[in-house]
């Protein structure tokens, strides 16, 4: 059976892709964020995941308002990037794992999620930038992208995204293959691009969110999306991806590495590496009964 070995969440600011293209990783403006990835690279080198399941949000490359799915799961053999209109270089395609994709689709639909399935799916900076950050030399690890709508309201609730993450994890763990699966989430943390409140960043809430995400994500699930926008900005609501990833990691997780930095472009940027805690090893014997 497949196993979930950990979760990595990172911001996906497009300007990071521009900085990578220009080789600015050591530049004083960018270094505080890029330098945080050394520990993630070391962790990945040790864990060697066989597959990636990534929660991300499309920004108008694959989906438009003509058809806007709430939850869409890629089931393609290959995922292509394309011109997003504002100058990021197009990166090489990423390998898919259609069998794993369909196992997740079948499992989540059985759990009453109404999934849009995509045998072709263009992937934008929200997928490509995190992949470049974590595998600067590229990777052939296959990926299953899961897109959550953050463009058009109503968005799915925090609680619903959490339940989706749980259902995805259940499907992965029931998948009959010897695979170590890495969960990923991209987006956030607090930022707002539009309106007179553009430039809004909320460090206090972000830090509280990061702690709650580890220890008591159910507290975040109580918040409605209006409150999340008030606390984190119109685009900060991308933290819904982080919540879905967190749910997939199980009851208890350990924070392996965290790097929070303000600002990257207009965003409070963050990298978080987590591992599920082996309950049998950590909990007192009595609780095992």
């Amino acid at each position: 059976m497949a196993r979930i070995i950990g979760g990595i969440a990172t911001s996906h600011v497009p300007a990071l892709g521009g900085a990578i293209a220009k080789g600015l990783q050591k530049d004083p403006y960018w270094a505080p964020f890029f330098d945080g990835f050394g520990k993630a690279h070391a962790w990945l080198a040790e864990k060697k995941p066989d597959a990636i399941v990534m929660f991300y949000n499309d920004h108008g490359l694959n989906f438009f308002l003509d058809k806007m799915p709430t939850f869409a799961i890629g089931a393609a053999p290959e995922y292509h990037n394309a011109d997003e209109g504002w100058g990021l270089p197009v990166v090489k395609p990423f390998k898919g794992d259609p069998k794993l994709s369909w196992a997740i689709i079948e499992g989540t639909v059985e759990d009453e999620f109404d999934i849009t399935t995509c045998q072709e799916m263009l992937v934008d900076h929200a997928l490509t930038v995190p992949m470049q950050l974590l595998w600067p030399d590229g990777t052939t690890i296959p990926i299953v992208p899961i897109a959550i709508n953050t463009v058009q309201y109503p968005l799915p609730s925090a609680q619903r995204c959490f339940k989706l993450g749980q259902s995805v994890a259940k499907a992965i763990k029931a998948y009959d293959a010897d695979l170590d699966v890495l969960m990923m989430a991209t987006g956030g943390l607090s930022h707002q691009l539009d309106g007179e409140r553009a430039g809004f960043i909320n460090k206090d809430y972000d830090l509280k969110f990061l702690d709650q995400l580890i220890d008591c994500p159910e507290e975040i699930c109580k918040l409605d999306n209006r409150t999340l926008v008030e606390l984190t900005g119109t685009q900060g609501v991308e933290l819904l991806m982080w919540l879905a990833m967190r749910a997939a990691l199980g009851d208890r997780v350990e924070r392996i590495h965290q790097n929070y930095h303000i600002p990257i472009s207009n965003t409070a940027a963050c990298l978080l590496v987590t591992e599920p805690v082996n309950a049998q090893a950590r909990r007192p014997v009595l609780e095992l009964v």
Partner: protein, 117 residues
């Protein structure tokens, strides 16, 4: 307690709900077309003809002509699509932030730095 479906009381913030999604459809569809280089070139060659092709409303056209970001948002523009238009005009999200807040670019960047202190 605030109505979870009412987003309009967060200062300086409008949420892209059904009302704006319907109102802004033409403008957003035009901006979505800018994913392709030839469409960006066609817009630059003749803005008026390009806007007419996508049936933009009077308010949408005026906002585009005046490079008025808040006007585009009020006319139903969604920032994810508007960003593609901004790219054509050589503006990044910090330029957009300065334009929307009425700050200078330097002051806007300083505000972002301050948020991290």
């Amino acid at each position: 307690m605030a109505d979870p479906h009412d987003f309009h009381d967060i200062p300086g913030t409008s949420l892209f709900d059904s009302r704006l999604a319907m109102k802004g459809y033409a403008l957003n569809k035009m901006c979505f077309s800018f994913n392709e280089a030839e469409n960006r070139a066609a817009f630059l060659a003749d803005e008026e003809a390009y806007m007419a092709r996508f049936h933009l409303t009077v308010d949408q056209k005026d906002a585009v002509r005046q490079r008025d970001v808040l006007g585009m948002l009020a006319a139903g523009g969604n920032v994810y699509y508007l960003a593609k238009l901004a790219g054509i005009l050589g503006l990044n999200v910090q330029d957009l932030g300065a334009m929307q807040t009425g700050m200078t670019l330097e002051d806007f960047k300083e505000m972002l730095l301050e948020a991290g202190r």
